[in-house]
């Protein structure tokens, strides 16, 4: 080989290194970006809070105030908090994202009478138990002062606009609390997480049986003819259809199906049906892969023992193909969590706190879409949700990889064992 050849080869090889390097860099860039933007926003409160903040008023007209005595502040109280010894509650002043001052309840003594309130706001929740709780943003408290007059204090009242003032008013001037007006903390993901779980459950219930059965038909039962070839190529085509088109299909075709169930608009059920169609090719391919791995000897042995075809499928083939079906399930879950376009059409983009199978809702992915497509895109929240999605999806994909690895290893082991057995038999 001459020198020019060597240099040329080096350059060509250098390009392959370069392009692989670029791909790795892009991956790292994505992860760094998402984690940097979202990590500080991510916490448990975010995961368990409602998205829409609620304004609620709760009253205490049924409480005997004489029973309760003095409370002592806990050691864990933050330094900027003010503690009311009379009622066992502590507040902190802060400023929210919209630059409004707010007063957060940071501590409530478990013995405090303030926790036994009832909602007095008109509406379906009127009369429901709801008291002061940690994490609430207090707007106003009404109380009876020492002269027996009803007064109010708090952010929206004329006095007690800071925590310090409010606590001193409550401790020095009040006999009892009449009611309070507060806002619950919003911006949480609880509703979307529940919707996502609901969606996963519904979709798998619909898609798994159809997909697995179709795979069994194609691999175990189908004759080798034109019809089968057509079925195969149709399913192959289905996997190339973009997800927006599936969304459109959901809006026209599957919408009729959900209408039979009495649903009039977009719904989680409609999203699940659409996702089921999207997942069919995935499930069928994965399951067939597993069926191919089931040795033919098992089938023949079972049939020759007098088992019927269904018995063979049910008792021999499906149990042996279980790892493949499992990995199909995990892959499906990761697709469901990541899917957005089709769901925007079929489930809507309104974030719901109390999701149901027959009402609208957003999965985590669509939640990202909603907060990003508003007037003010909320990068921090979007990145935080992205972290959640990425972690789940990565775990699922690693599990699938592990299962596939185990499956192929078992098969290799079998081959080796067969060879060994043959060799020993020959000797």
């Amino acid at each position: 080989m001459n020198r020019i050849r060597i240099i040329k080869d080096r350059i060509a090889e250098g390009f392959t290194w370069l392009s692989s390097g670029i791909s790795a860099l892009v991956l790292i860039a994505i992860f760094v970006f998402i984690f940097k933007r979202g990590w500080s926003t991510l916490n448990w409160d975010l995961l368990k809070n409602n998205y829409n903040s609620e304004n609620l008023m709760a009253g205490y007209d049924h409480i005997d105030w004489d029973e309760h005595g003095a409370f002592t502040a806990p050691d864990t109280l933050p330094e900027d908090a003010f503690f009311s010894e009379k009622y066992g509650v502590a507040f902190v002043d802060s400023i929210n994202a919209a630059k409004e001052s707010q007063m957060e309840v940071v501590f409530l003594d478990p013995e405090s009478p303030l926790q036994d309130g009832k909602i007095t706001t008109a509406g379906p929740r009127q009369g429901e138990k709801f008291g002061m709780e940690e994490g609430l943003f207090l707007k106003k408290i009404s109380y009876i002062n020492l002269e027996g007059e009803k007064k109010s204090a708090g952010l929206t009242a004329t006095q007690g606009k800071t925590s310090e003032e409010l606590v001193s008013v409550l401790d020095n001037d009040s006999q009892e609390v009449v009611d309070f007006y507060a806002q619950t903390e919003g911006g949480g993901l609880k509703g979307s997480i529940i919707t996502t779980l609901l969606l996963i459950g519904l979709t798998l219930i619909i898609a798994l049986p159809i997909g697995v059965f179709a795979a069994i038909y194609l691999h175990e039962l189908a004759p080798k003819n034109k019809l089968t070839a057509w079925i195969r190529s149709s399913i192959e085509l289905l996997s190339g259809v973009p997800s927006v088109i599936f969304g459109l299909m959901g809006m026209t075709m599957l919408f009729q199906v959900t209408r039979l169930m009495g649903i009039t608009g977009q719904s989680t059920m409609l999203g699940a049906l659409t996702l089921a169609v999207i997942l069919l090719p995935v499930i069928i391919r994965q399951t067939e892969e597993a069926l191919i791995n089931v040795p033919d000897g098992y089938r023949m042995a079972s049939l020759s023992m007098g088992a019927t075809q269904f018995q063979t499928i049910y008792k021999i083939i499906i149990p042996n193909a279980m790892p493949g079906i499992l990995s199909a399930t995990l892959l499906s879950i990761s697709r469901i969590i990541g899917e957005s376009a089709a769901l925007i059409f079929t489930m809507g983009t309104a974030i719901m706190d109390n999701p149901a199978w027959n009402s609208r809702g957003t999965s985590l992915a669509v939640h990202i879409w909603t907060v990003m497509s508003g007037e003010q895109p909320n990068f921090e929240l979007a990145s935080a949700i992205s972290i959640v999605i990425l972690i789940i999806v990565l775990i699922l994909n690693v599990s699938v990889k592990y299962i596939t690895y185990r499956m192929t290893r078992d098969k290799d082991d079998q081959k080796k064992n067969n060879k060994k057995a043959k060799a020993t038999a020959e000797t």
């Binding site: 080869d9 860039a29 059965f213 194609l218 499928i313």
Partner: protein, 319 residues
């Protein structure tokens, strides 16, 4: 036991086993029917999708429709103003094809070279690591790419635009869409190319090496051209993904009203972003016209598939 009793019990047993056999047979048949039904349902879906989307999409052009859209104007129009009732899809089609084409132009060489690296050049450990990189890129959901694009890629585009003394709309531009799509279709093409290169018979390589070609020459000239068919299949899949990608693209496209967009720093509008924009209404032309756009998208994907297949055949016969 008398012979009579013996005969009686024998017939009883025979009857029972016959009954059981017929039960098994009917279970077998029912299950076979169910399995076949599931297979048919899965296969019918594609036809149903095309039928339902087409039926709804054609509706807006028919004379019976309230405010019908003219098919000619729809197909040749260069303006999309849903607020004025003007629906022209031609510039959107051109935009879609341009963005996908350039994304393919960036991603295809990178993909093929990476695949070659993974299969032939890299040592085992590195090869496994790179495979994982590709798999992870493929597993990242499209919304997450969207968040990344509208945060990071738009910044880069804004900087590049600054060098050319252009101002962008916060980085939302055709270039951002192209870069985003290139990243998104890279894993698709790469994984297909890896499969194709793995399938190249060793004898081809050995033959080339025996003729005195260097390892690298063999990889680039023999291995790649033997794997051509599979690599092109990957390109088809990748372009299909580029055409159909919706959520991520619509986060950075900006939805221009007129076009086609030639300046990479200008806003653009693709078929999918058009379908996703302004989803508030659920009746009327504005809603139904999405389905017409959907038909156009399906036709473009189909034509691309056919064209690349034809190209591949031509290249194969040319060898």
């Amino acid at each position: 036991m008398t012979t009579e009793q013996q005969n009686k019990s024998k017939t009883l047993i025979r009857e029972r086993s016959a009954k059981r056999r017929s039960l098994y047979k009917s279970v077998d048949r029912t299950m076979q029917f169910i399995f076949r039904l599931c297979g048919l349902i899965a296969a019918l879906m594609i036809i149903l999708i095309v039928f339902f989307v087409a039926a709804r999409g054609i509706q807006v052009f028919l004379p019976g429709y309230e405010n019908p859209v003219s098919l000619g104007e729809f197909l040749t129009g260069m303006r999309w103003r849903s607020d004025q009732g003007v629906y022209g899809v031609l510039f959107i089609v051109i935009n879609t094809i341009i963005t996908a084409f350039f994304a393919g132009l960036i991603a295809f060489p990178l993909s093929v070279l990476s695949a070659l690296m993974i299969v032939k050049i890299a040592p085992k450990r590195l090869s496994n690591a790179l495979t994982t990189v590709v798999e992870l890129l493929a597993a990242i959901p499209s919304v997450v790419y969207g968040v990344f694009a509208s945060g990071a890629i738009t910044d880069i585009v804004e900087k590049i635009a600054g060098w050319f003394n252009y101002t962008t709309f916060g980085g939302n531009s055709m270039l951002a869409v192209i870069l985003l799509l290139a990243i998104m279709i890279y894993p698709t093409i790469t994984s297909m190319a890896v499969v194709a290169i793995r399938a190249v018979p060793e004898s081809h390589e050995l033959g080339s090496l025996a003729l005195g070609a260097s390892r690298t020459q063999t990889n680039f000239k023999v291995v790649l051209s033997s794997a051509k068919s599979g690599i092109f299949a990957g390109l088809i899949l990748g372009l299909g993904r580029a055409f159909g990608e919706a959520t991520a693209v619509s986060m950075v496209a900006g939805n221009a009203f007129v076009g086609p967009t030639w300046n990479p720093f200008d806003l653009t509008r693709t078929l999918t972003t058009t379908m996703l924009s302004g989803l508030h209404e659920t009746v009327g032309v504005d809603y139904d016209v999405r389905f017409s756009v959907g038909i156009v998208l399906m036709i473009i994907i189909l034509i691309t598939n056919l064209a690349i297949n034809a190209l591949r055949k031509k290249m194969e016969s040319g060898d």
